[in-house]
Symmetry: C2
Subunit: 396 residues, 2 copies
């Protein structure tokens, strides 16, 4: 029997290796300043607090921490999330909170519970690539909603997103574009979504990483029964713990929970207890401001370097936002420059970035790229942007 006996599901034809992971492999060469990664700086990981917390958990509740646990998540952590979200304007109850194995799992569960083959799913343009990857196995038809510098245009929803299962939106310091929605835009978006009965999936991994002013209250606080909210501990503590959460209305929570049981029974109880032990007495109130200060300095360094080295006017003008938080700048190159073609030339000069095209569900803007300012120090940021500018000068 030499014949291959495996017959793959039809959905696998749409599933592909992450373009960005492939790019990251290419750009992890020694000597390259990588502005490509989406990784938080390990300098922000609270290693000492983690040490103390693991010691306490393994001293006080080792058997419970190492045993099977509830699919919903560790009750005190769910309560912490609900209380914290309430201070941010979203009146959540612990019973609405589902702890997930990173917020990527939240996206997978949302896809499993809400997407049929052929369902329309509305996304921003550009949008988070990991969400496209999470939803794709459920075989939706993506529709890209036109966006401006605050995200989706409310008036565009009614013709573009009508009939969609949901709108996926990342309102704070979006990955990849760095843009944010103000409060008025959130209100207008909710009003437009309500008018067509379009629920919203609000993803907020970066909201705590604001530099100048705290973001507007969550979309979910404006339309609680119509919004699923996704949060994460990856950017404020550490991603290697894989801890996120979903806050969902009663109409969908039971199905998300059943999908969670089917997916991995529960998120590691050990990790949940350790993180709860780290944060329960207000640790993040001291810790997150240190991350903000660090990333703000790096954002400022990148902005200064961009202003110093990239042309902002004339035929080769580049355009970019100044993100008010998060991890990314998004640069529009001259219309005729393909960022993907630019990448090898940039790598030759010692700098790497992520081309923007994979972030578009619809027609890609090939002249865009994403720059992370959080993983390398200001001095390296300056050298990296200088190298990028040099590569751009030679672009055909």
């Amino acid at each position: 029997m030499n014949k291959n006996p495996w017959r793959l599901a039809a959905r696998t034809e749409r599933m592909n290796p992450s373009v960005i992971r492939e790019i990251l492999k290419l750009t992890e060469l020694p000597g390259i300043i990588s502005l490509a990664g989406g990784l938080p700086s390990p300098d922000t990981f609270p290693i000492e607090a983690m040490r103390e917390a693991t010691t306490r958990v393994l001293r006080d509740a080792p058997r419970e921490a190492l045993q099977y646990a509830a699919s919903e998540g560790y009750a005190p952590l769910r309560e912490w999330v609900a209380a914290e979200m309430t201070t941010q304007g979203l009146q959540a109850d612990a019973s609405q909170v589902l702890i997930t194995t990173g917020s990527q799992q939240g996206l997978d569960l949302v896809g499993k519970a809400l997407i049929d083959a052929g369902s329309k799913v509305a996304v921003e343009s550009p949008t988070y690539l990991g969400a496209l990857q999470a939803f794709t196995p459920y075989e939706p038809e993506f529709v890209a909603v036109p966006c401006d510098e605050e995200g989706p245009l409310p008036e565009a929803l009614t013709y573009d997103a009508s009939g969609a299962r949901f709108l996926y939106a990342l309102p704070n310091f979006q990955n990849p574009s760095g843009r944010s929605m103000g409060g008025a835009r959130r209100d207008a978006l909710v009003q437009s979504a309500q008018s067509i009965g379009l629920p919203i999936v609000e993803d907020n991994p970066y909201g705590d990483l604001w530099f100048d002013a705290a973001p507007a209250a969550p979309i979910a606080s404006r339309w609680q029964e119509g919004t699923i909210y996704l949060g994460s501990f990856s950017k404020v503590l550490a991603p290697g713990l894989r801890l996120g959460y979903v806050i969902a209305p009663a109409a969908v929570l039971p199905k998300l929970l059943q999908a969670k049981q089917a997916a991995d029974l529960h998120t590691p109880g050990f990790n949940q207890r350790v993180v709860h032990e780290v944060i329960k007495d207000g640790f993040l109130r001291q810790h997150v401001p240190t991350i903000r200060a660090r990333y703000k300095a790096q954002r400022d360094a990148m902005q200064a370097a961009l202003v110093a080295h990239l042309p902002q006017s004339g035929p080769r003008a580049c355009h970019w936002n100044v993100p008010g938080g998060g991890m990314f700048f998004w640069v529009e190159l001259p219309k005729d420059v393909d960022a993907e073609a630019l990448l090898p030339r940039a790598v030759e000069r010692g700098v790497a970035f992520v081309p923007g095209a994979p972030f578009f569900a619809g027609a890609p803007m090939k002249n865009t790229l994403r720059l992370s300012f959080v993983t390398v120090a200001p001095e390296a940021i300056e050298r990296g942007i200088r190298a990028l500018a040099a590569a751009l000068e030679t672009a055909p």
Copy 2:
């Protein structure tokens, strides 16, 4: 806008709360001897070794352990799995190993990569309920293959499982039935599967927990390119870490990996490093025999109690296997006794079990029940079985 805006995916109609989790809630009352759970004994958790390992990981590689990591898993752990499986007769290479968030996630990824709506999936009768739950969201049609005391009948495959995407089999100390396949049965099953081009998904969470003799070599060792093998650290270390693995042939591995990326990016690197730190120098060679000795004594206690208290002949005769390992006895009550109806009467007398019906994908044998011997001490096992016998005496 008061209308519920959510429209659920069609698959959610088939997704239901775990019957067993609901039963477990009912039976967690104080004073109840629970033989219902599927949880390993927390007395077997290597707490001291975990303490030392977390200390070392957070001392030697904290930044790496807490950062995003490869979707495939931590390379040294993949290498350990490959080497360990090779000693068990499955010549695996580390490149074939995918680390998963518990082996439940392995089942979900298998479903995502291999099942289309309406695909036929062949399962044992009875079979592991968690696998039915993992596969169900992908909307298969289950077909239950007739089984004897060694599992699926090879000759039954050719008419019952023909055209199925795969056969799901749990050859060692099966949950729920406790039965195992001998080497000759495995060979015959593989031969029959090969003759109809039917791949096999081999799930082995209990194989290391043998009491009398080590199990026959894995099915995957007999047909490597036609078998996906699932393993777990839940029963030999601790389930709260959520660490399992998949060993897959090249024809399916890339799609399982892409499904893994989409599902949760990667399994917590911290957990992977801690477990590798615990096991890398042969810890399990000392540790697993202590679990075997403990569980064997508890199996013996349950067998003695069953013989002492349940009728084995006459009109009320009960039948059961004596499992050679694992965690479960499977009891067939007299044909006219419905185990689900018996449960409340048993709980009244202070003992809980899991009725067998939910473990059947096809027509259920309602006169069956599952008893775990690993979570309560021999003395409580004796009292529990006595109470079960008393409840049975009153059965209509």
